[in-house]
Symmetry: C2
Subunit: 383 residues, 2 copies
């Protein structure tokens, strides 16, 4: 295999893009990434999109976007793993470039969730659950996250306010990012009294549906240095899976796929959790942040929330997370989310994160989850 590097990134602001269609949104991020990479020849375009067929009545988005940005003719297809689609598309591009069969690949994550009524977003996300045994009975992603959170609170004898640190941190970081959807600061003490979405998950707990597109350009590491001043190496890339249905897990509070994919990525990159300077984790719900920190070696079981309470997840902490607002404040445009994570980590490693900079960041980890951790895809980036 060849080593692989990221040489360009592009991002649109995340939010409600009522005046921009799916293809235009994708094109905006794609063009920015190509320009950022010094306009190299692009050999393939891999699209990350989770719910286009359901929400936008548009599948076949590889051909759609490739055509729209004037690259018609090149290799293209879409990759899907519910909310982990972005991580999966990055993984695909990594495999393609590593194989030596594709020289330079563009990865575009795009999701346009506000084209339909709000309920369509909930229904679309439910297709990422088990359609027969969960969604058909009315279970939704927030409802299942609420079950997990309730159990965690019970097991560890906590109060809901134990989780507030995650949202406070996300919004503090997001408030300084021009791409973030919700830039309001959440004041300590306000979290626990936010309106309930699915008890105990509340409005300040879960990440919002959103529109957005982000893009990356990948090429062989050996030539990346000649193409851009600061290529970012992908030193770890791993995917793992868990049961699709939550009720099939013997230990629902253990994110098995998150653990295994992180472990494989650590091994490949030859790093340990303490070597990670920042971690863009999948904070779709605070319970997922908690469980992720526990599964990936940053906290003991039952203690992930303490990292948030004690400030360790802040930009100046021992393991900064959600450095541009995370899913919670930047927004969660499903299939695009994993690509935003990567783009943000690249900015951090290149020292271009502005007010959100993690000082001296050399090693970043990203983990993108599908559903409630049924798919977990982890990448480690280094400069």
């Amino acid at each position: 295999m060849r080593n692989v590097a990221i040489i360009g990134i592009g991002q649109t602001p995340v939010g409600e893009h009522w005046n921009t269609g799916l293809r235009a949104l994708a094109a905006q991020a794609a063009r920015e990434a190509i320009e950022n990479a010094g306009s190299p020849t692009i050999d393939a375009l891999y699209i990350a999109n989770a719910f286009g067929g359901s929400i936008n009545h548009q599948s076949h988005i590889g051909a759609l976007v490739t055509d729209f940005i004037g690259l018609s003719g090149i290799e293209t297809f879409a990759i899907e793993a519910a909310e982990a689609s972005g991580g999966a598309a990055l993984r695909t591009a990594y495999l393609a470039v590593a194989s030596g069969l594709v020289n330079t690949a563009l990865v575009v994550g795009v999701e346009k969730m506000t084209d339909s009524i709000a309920a369509a977003g909930v229904k679309a996300r439910s297709t990422g659950l088990d359609a027969d045994y969960e969604a058909a009975h009315g279970a939704t992603l927030p409802a299942l996250a609420a079950l997990l959170m309730r159990r965690y609170i019970y097991e560890n004898q906590l109060d809901i306010s134990a989780f507030e640190g995650f949202s406070i941190n996300a919004h503090a970081n997001g408030s300084r990012s021009q791409n973030a959807m919700f830039r309001n600061v959440i004041k300590p003490g306000r979290f626990a009294s936010a309106p309930i979405v699915a008890d105990p998950v509340n409005l300040f707990d879960g990440a919002p549906d959103a529109d957005g597109a982000a893009a990356l350009v990948l090429t062989a590491a050996e030539r990346a240095g000649d193409m851009v001043p600061q290529p970012v190496r992908i030193t770890g890339s791993a995917a793992s899976s868990d049961t699709l249905a939550l009720h099939d897990r013997t230990d629902p509070l253990y994110l098995k796929a998150a653990y295994h994919s992180a472990l494989k990525a650590y091994q490949q990159a030859r790093v340990q959790p303490q070597d990670i300077d920042l971690f863009e984790l999948h904070d779709a719900f605070t319970i997922l942040s908690t469980l992720t920190l526990e599964a990936t070696g940053f906290a003991k079981r039952g203690e992930g929330w303490k990292l948030a309470q004690d400030g360790h997840i802040a930009l100046t902490g021992s393991i900064p997370i959600s450095t541009f607002g995370g899913l919670k404040s930047r927004g969660n445009p499903a299939g695009a989310t994993g690509i935003y994570q990567a783009a943000e980590a690249v900015l951090q490693l290149q020292g271009d994160a502005g007010a959100n900079q993690v000082e001296g960041a050399r090693t970043a980890m990203l983990q993108n989850l599908g559903g409630l951790g049924s798919t977990a895809i982890t990448h480690i980036l280094q400069i």
Copy 2:
């Protein structure tokens, strides 16, 4: 890169599987392929599915199937390029194994189109067209194929009966295949009077929506020979794209993506069209068969239909196509179709095609199209 080989195949019959759900259908093909490969350790499962989110309210099918067949934990995600999803997933698995990062990959193509009313299938297939500029105005895949066919008839001063050879050949071959959906023989002369679907496309012209699942096991060629008696080498693999919307093509009767992906595959495999012993092409409509034969070097422009009329596409002809019935008679379970093409070609190369055997077949080509050739993915297999 490492060379890659197919070491196992599995197929369910194609048809209307009212009593078998999406996951069970996929599992049936997956288990058969694993057993056929000698039950090796599987490191990754790539799913080809086009319309699960729309028709089955189920996305995230990688985690679904991986879980259901007892492989939860391994890498998995889905690949989509409308009806070319199967070819794209095969391409992904090929890239993964070629990279050296994945040793043995399972590829499962699955589509369950008859869970919903028939109109849902038409609507789902329309998501593979341009949602804003084609589907929103009522254009469907058969309607656009009809425009192409009408134009071809006009340009070449033909009668609709010029196309009958494709359907007669497909059903003749399908009539001897236990997996084929429609095993009726079409008698010469009956084609032109079949009920119209979208004038001039008729019931004997277009391939039927269907349920089905097919699977392949891929591993490094260097170890394949130790694992199974007759590994089939993938010597060419290429993807290309064309405009998504038909109206954007300067020359709609030239399948640009089909041409480019075939050319790249020929070059990689170092073969010419005359070296191809059989060609599983994308005969969703007879006009696509015609245009494909022209684009891939088997016929001059305007003359693809002659290969059918003159018997060259028969099992004993110079370029046998649709050897187990093709999309037309075997059936077209969208995302699974490209995997059926590969499984059928493997049977041919291994000499296990029974009554459908192409004698002495050593080199097979597969081409899977998305929409009306907006995506084209070509593989060349050799034994």
